[in-house]
């Protein structure tokens, strides 16, 4: 299962090879939302890292499991949601990388945080984790009233 769902939504399955298709769709979606080219790369990395985490940790590399990605835009921000239905994210098990130690792994969420303005997760649903990434439009500061 792979492809576009309702407008602004993409469904991929949990094989790493599916990530390239996600990036292609996301690039088109970000262009549709008038996101500048230089911001698009960072958002592709951020969304790709969240989906990679779902593949590795939520689904433990098991293929064929769904990951839903959606993009919504307002005047002042872009909101991207990534939803998996596997093992819930456990913040207690997350160790931020020690960048002084030249880490080989564990830098995925660090990268996400560098490329978005807000990152949150919700594990209150019966299955899986819903990640929300927010990127403010240029000149719109975090904390301003939503459009």
């Amino acid at each position: 299962m792979i492809g576009e769902g309702p407008e602004g939504t993409f469904v991929l399955t949990s094989e790493p090879q599916r990530l390239a298709g996600l990036r292609e769709w996301l690039r088109e979606e970000l262009t549709r939302h008038k996101v500048e080219q230089q911001e698009q790369f960072g958002l592709q990395v951020a969304v790709g890292e969240i989906c990679s985490n779902s593949i590795k940790h939520a689904y433990n590399w098991l293929g064929g499991k769904p990951i839903h990605v959606s993009v919504r835009g307002t005047d002042d921000r872009l909101i991207i949601e990534v939803r998996d239905f596997g093992k819930k994210f456990d913040p207690q098990s997350y160790q931020p990388p020690d960048l002084e130690a030249v880490p080989e792994g564990g830098i995925g969420l660090h990268l996400v945080r560098q490329f978005v303005d807000e990152l949150s997760f919700d594990v209150t649903e019966e299955q899986g984790t819903r990640w929300t990434l927010v990127k403010y439009r240029p000149g719109r500061t975090p904390g301003a009233r939503p459009a």
Binding site: A20, F41, V45, S52, V102, P103, I107, G108, H110
Partner: protein
């Protein structure tokens, strides 16, 4: 991902083409691991053909760099795009790894 390997005197040049991501990281690990096992510890990875890189791809380069340095060599990078350079900068790896603008400059750095 297509990965070419060529020899320039005592320097081994690795040229990946495509996205260096979670899907292709294992292939990169295998290629670099085989070179290191064969004693090729003076490595240059030309990233000119890599438009996208994630933490999995980055991790394989760091891992191989550490192994190469332990064996008395190094893994040096060249021809990074502005975008891939951002990934290195956000993890401060641009300070730890040797980056060169061109393949010629990276190869020359061994002389």
């Amino acid at each position: 991902m297509e990965i070419q390997v060529t020899q320039a005197s005592e320097v081994t040049v690795v040229v990946p083409k495509g996205d260096l991501d979670t899907a292709s990281a294992a292939q990169m690990k295998q290629t670099l691991g085989a070179l290191l096992d064969a004693g090729k510890t003076r490595l240059v990875v030309d990233l000119g053909g890599v438009a996208y890189m994630d933490s999995a791809g980055l991790g394989q380069l760091v891992n191989a760099m550490k192994l190469a340095r332990k064996a008395g060599g190094d893994l040096r990078l060249c021809a990074l795009s502005e975008e891939t350079l951002r990934v290195f900068k956000t993890t401060r790896l641009n300070k730890e790894m040797a980056l060169y603008p061109t393949r010629q400059a990276a190869i020359a750095s061994w002389r």
